[in-house]
């Protein structure tokens, strides 16, 4: 009996109950919706559940790794990720006209995925190292650390991912205390440069923006997706059409309904009440993550936890805003809900790091 208790203790010691419960609730919503989106085929649901169990194991492992250990891995990880991005630029595999993949013999690997974690770790490590004496030069150096991978990913070309990675870097800078003057300056510069960027965009990128402004111009492509998603959400009403009863979903009007547009399926079948509950679950999860961030004991832990929290928010917000027609169609999945193993695993690793920050906070302060 005592041994059993000890095993239970080892398993749960570092697990943050509230964070875990919120995440599982959201995943549950995802599985239920996926069953409907996949025309009641169980195969996708089981495959997603498999990813989930694997992801939970990884979460547990990361929850048991102390933040200091992660900090030691930060520089090598960042250097490796940049080297791989350079490798992609030189000998990457071209898929769909973009050079994003590195062929590792056995499998193809997308180094930009690794960068999503490596960049915040690297920046947090840097600010921790010079904690207490951070000057403007450090922010300039940090900006270089951000710009290099962002540039490499942008020219793949993968504008969406490069913007997300730029955002994750910016979050760290912001939390590390970037001057408001600089932030206001950056925003102003962005507004001024905007028209110039337009001329440098690829045709397909311009087309996406134009389609966002006028969905009717591209009835076979993204505009159609956007219109059909709005119809699905709007026709759901307050209480929704009921599980498995969404007409938009089941008459094949909704595109990408397992992945990027799964929220439209959910909104159609569960209505405003369902959408509100899901928003609330996300809010609870992000709120808990913020509490953990605020209580973190070292600069490194604080910055990493903060960046993970904000990226979680960014993904959820961008996806739901896209599905409801507030943002143009960009390929961002809904965290913990959209079908896809890689995203599920990265997200749970993020949760694991948050739990580790929470569990290891007292050890360091003493």
């Amino acid at each position: 009996m005592g041994a059993l208790l000890r095993v239970w203790d080892v398993l749960t010691r570092r697990i943050d109950t509230m964070l875990f419960a919120c995440a599982l609730a959201i995943v549950g919503v995802g599985l239920v919706t996926l069953f409907s989106a996949a025309d009641q085929s169980i195969t996708r649901v089981t495959s997603q559940a498999m990813s989930l169990s694997f992801a939970v194991v990884l979460m547990w492992i990361f929850a048991n790794i102390a933040p200091q250990t992660l900090a030691r891995a930060a520089v090598p990880l960042y250097v490796l990720a940049v080297a791989m991005l350079v490798g992609v630029a030189l000998f990457g595999v071209v898929v769909n006209g973009s050079r994003r993949w590195l062929n590792l013999g056995v499998a193809r690997f997308q180094p930009s995925e690794l960068m999503k974690i490596a960049l915040p770790l690297m920046l947090a490590w840097y600010f921790q190292k010079f904690e207490g004496r951070i000057g403007w030069k450090d922010f300039v150096f940090a900006a270089v650390l951000i710009v290099v991978p962002v540039y490499l990913i942008k020219r793949q070309p993968d504008l969406g991912t490069s913007l997300l990675i730029a955002a994750s870097g910016f979050y760290v800078l912001f939390l590390a205390g970037l001057s408001w003057k600089v932030i206001v300056g950056l925003v102003a510069a962005a507004a001024a440069v905007g028209p110039m960027v337009w001329t440098h965009l690829h045709d397909y990128q311009r087309e996406r923006i134009l389609t966002f402004l006028d969905p009717g111009r591209d009835p076979l492509g993204a505009g159609y997706h956007s219109m059909q998603a709005s119809i699905a959400l709007g026709s759901g009403g307050v209480v929704g059409k009921g599980w498995l009863n969404g007409t938009q979903t089941h008459l094949d009007f909704l595109p990408e309904r397992h992945t990027d547009f799964i929220f439209a399926v959910f909104g159609e079948e569960f209505g405003l009440i369902g959408a509100g509950v899901l928003l609330l679950l996300y809010l609870l999860l992000i709120g808990r993550a913020m509490v953990i961030t605020a209580n973190a004991s070292t600069m490194f832990a604080r910055l990493v936890a903060g960046a993970i929290t904000l990226m979680f928010f960014t993904y959820a917000f961008v996806n739901m805003a896209m599905v409801s027609g507030l943002l143009p169609v960009v390929g961002v999945p809904l965290p913990l809900v959209s079908y896809g193993g890689t995203a599920m695993i990265s997200l749970f690793i993020g949760l694991g790091i948050l739990m580790s920050v929470q569990a290891h906070r007292k050890l360091v302060t003493t």
Partner: protein
């Protein structure tokens, strides 16, 4: 306000640098305070953003609910792509070489069917299903993307359509669809030019995405795979239309509400003369080889033969494994595009070009004569480079060297000329580089030089003496053997350039592109692409000698009693094994025979046609290749049709061809 939010310690850091800052006391509480203040701000923003989202949901799901509900209710409107008609390909006289027609297919959507085999068995009771259809369906199933419907039977008869329509309710997931099919009326004739279309696979999808045409290919099943069908895919495909179709609750179309018609692909008119092409292919008989005939004044390709050919119609619905195996494994390599991808040593056909180079570089004068004992020896070496005539040709000047094809004359020339100078001159004629003809897959061939050899034998597997250029290399190259390897289209291009007094055109197979909607016709550019830097009097000397070859030289017999004056040059090339060729016992003797070459142009004073002929393992060029050239030139200049070589246009009237 701004600076107060930064860490206090930072300020000293500005002036005094790190050394000063480290001595300062840290203030963790203060830092934490500022950090938490920023975090609270973030929390506020997050909350506001989610409120914004909720507001948007409220707007869509409550305020606009009625509107969207009507839309969803009436969203029985499916948007269906309408595939455009693929452009027609015709020859220069308007004879159709590739066309589309509509026919019924029986299609299965595998994702909607539980037991495929049982369903197919049941279908077979109503409609004829051959084992070959099943096999092809299996293959398509393996290659298919997820949810598409796949054809089980194509080209159903009206009776079969009627019979299945009656029983349709018993077969959910099985439909009759009207699809466009591609047909190539001439079958094997010109198959290597026209190519074929086939079902879109993953590689094609990547290609389509890289053109940013994914939406335009919605609903398209086929794409150009080889030849003109491939290289002009984007002209031929057209713009996909959109149909708003009302569907019933089961998802079946009830009626069309709105239609944006598709825009048919552009029609192509080739420069090819299919009558001439037929004569040329017939002239080859069963022999393997290649022929490229061009108009030297425009680069129009008039005939483009690669023998043996294949029937492109086999590929359209997905080729069945038996036919594929036969084509792919045949030692005759019917799928090899010889004019573009067969690199052969040019043999003696290189001689007039080398002679022109010798005149231009001042290495020889026309009247300078040498004694030919029947062989050549590098001073100090015992090896004899032999002439084809034992005992030699006697005294040989430049004219005679070309007319009787004297090897010794060219051994001596190679001995006197640096290989890099030779390569530099030959490059002007397009040797060793792609001609830029408008179908894909062309090889550049090999124009040997020191730099080439050094690079060819680079790496650990070779020693320095492998990389070194020897005089012996130059001597072999001097009569078109050794490392030289050129494609038939390169030789056709080079002789056309000589025929046109040094003006080179990029060979092209498509003459005009016609927009079906506007009726506008666009010519494929045919400006001169290059000009030879040679003196006109030197060119005249070479052309005079080429006329001599057909009048009194190696090919005089083939051009006996011709009604026009022509220039030509024969060539015989030692066998250069094609890559990956397997040893096949009963054919080995034949396959070790020399390749026969012939290049020619006519009429001599104002050339209208220039060509290169290659007969694989044909033996002596004069005997095997020159008569083919004679037939093609006769047909083109005189319109004469020899018995058995008449232009027969299957299914189409051949009035236009004459």
């Amino acid at each position: 306000m701004a600076n107060r939010l930064l860490f206090t310690s930072r300020r000293r850091g500005f002036g005094g640098g790190r050394a000063a800052a480290t001595s300062e006391l840290r203030n963790p509480e203060r830092e934490l305070f500022y950090f938490r203040r920023r975090l609270s701000l973030v929390a506020l923003l997050v909350f506001a953003a989610f409120c914004g989202l909720f507001g948007r949901f409220f707007y869509l799901q409550v305020v606009q609910h009625a509107h969207f509900e009507t839309l969803a209710e009436s969203n029985r409107i499916a948007i269906v792509p309408v595939v455009p008609n693929r452009g027609i390909i015709t020859d220069r006289n308007g004879i159709v070489l590739a066309q589309s027609y509509s026919a019924y297919t029986l299609e299965i959507t595998p994702s909607r069917i539980a037991n495929l085999d049982e369903t197919i068995d049941r279908i077979a009771e109503i409609v004829d299903v051959q084992p070959r259809d099943r096999k092809r369906f299996r293959k398509l199933l393996e290659e298919s993307r997820n949810f598409e419907s796949l054809p089980l039977r194509t080209k159903l008869t009206d009776e079969e359509v009627a019979r299945f329509a009656v029983a349709r309710y018993r077969f959910p997931g099985v439909d009759i669809k009207a699809r466009l099919f591609r047909q190539y009326p001439f079958g094997e004739i010109a198959s290597h030019v026209i190519g074929y279309i086939g079902r879109i696979n993953d590689k094609d999808l990547d290609r389509i995405a890289s053109w940013d045409e994914t939406a335009n290919y919605k609903g398209s099943d086929y794409i150009g795979k080889v030849g003109i069908e491939l290289s002009y895919e984007r002209e031929l495909h057209g713009t996909t239309g959109v149909e708003d179709v009302e569907v019933d609750s089961g998802g079946r179309a009830v009626r069309t509400l709105k239609r944006t018609p598709p825009i048919a692909g552009n029609n192509l008119t080739l420069s090819l003369d299919i009558g001439l092409q037929q004569v040329a292919e017939a002239a080859f008989g069963d022999r393997r080889g290649a022929l490229v005939a061009m108009d030297p004044n425009s680069g129009d390709v008039l005939a483009f033969v690669s023998k043996p050919g294949y029937d492109p119609n086999l590929f359209v619905d997905g080729i069945d494994p038996a036919n594929w195996q036969e084509l792919n494994e045949s030692p005759d390599k019917p799928l090899l595009n010889r004019p573009l991808r067969g690199a052969y040593p040019p043999g003696s056909t290189i001689k007039p070009f080398l002679a022109l180079g010798a005149l231009t570089m001042g290495k020889r004068t026309p009247s300078q004569a040498f004694h030919d004992p029947g062989f050549f020896q590098i001073p100090g070496h015992s090896h004899r480079f032999r002439d084809d005539k034992p005992g030699g040709h006697g005294t040989v000047d430049m004219y005679k060297s070309i007319v009787v094809s004297c090897d010794t004359y060219y051994y001596l020339l190679a001995n006197d000329t640096d290989i890099d100078d030779t390569a530099h001159f030959l490059a002007q004629l397009g040797f060793g580089e792609k001609t830029g003809v408008d179908i894909e897959g062309e090889l550049a061939g090999v124009l040997p030089s020191r730099a080439w050899k050094n690079q060819r034998f680079a790496g650990k597997n070779f020693r320095d003496d492998h990389r070194k250029w020897y005089l012996g290399d130059s001597i072999s190259a001097g009569i078109g053997q050794g490392y030289n390897a050129f494609t038939p289209i390169q030789l056709a291009h080079a002789i056309a350039m000589v025929a046109a007094d040094g003006v080179g055109y990029t060979p092209h197979l498509v003459k005009t592109v016609q927009n079906v909607k506007t009726g506008e016709t666009r010519e494929i550019a045919r400006e001169p692409a290059s000009r030879l830097a040679v003196k006109p009097e030197h060119l005249a000397i070479i052309k005079n000698a080429l006329v001599g070859v057909n009048k009194e030289g190696t090919s005089a017999k083939a051009f006996k009693d011709a009604q026009y004056v022509s220039g030509g040059k024969t060539g015989t090339a030692q066998v250069f094994s094609l890559k990956g060729e397997k040893y096949t016992e009963h054919k080995v003797d034949e396959r070790l025979r020399d390749h026969a070459w012939f290049i020619a142009y006519a009429p001599a004073d104002r050339p209208k046609i220039a060509l290169a002929v290659l007969v694989e393992n044909g033996g002596f060029g004069a005997a095997a290749a020159a008569p083919i050239a004679r037939k093609v030139i006769d047909r083109y200049l005189l319109g004469s049709t020899e018995p058995g070589a008449a232009a027969v246009v299957p299914g189409v009237s051949d009035d236009e061809s004459d």
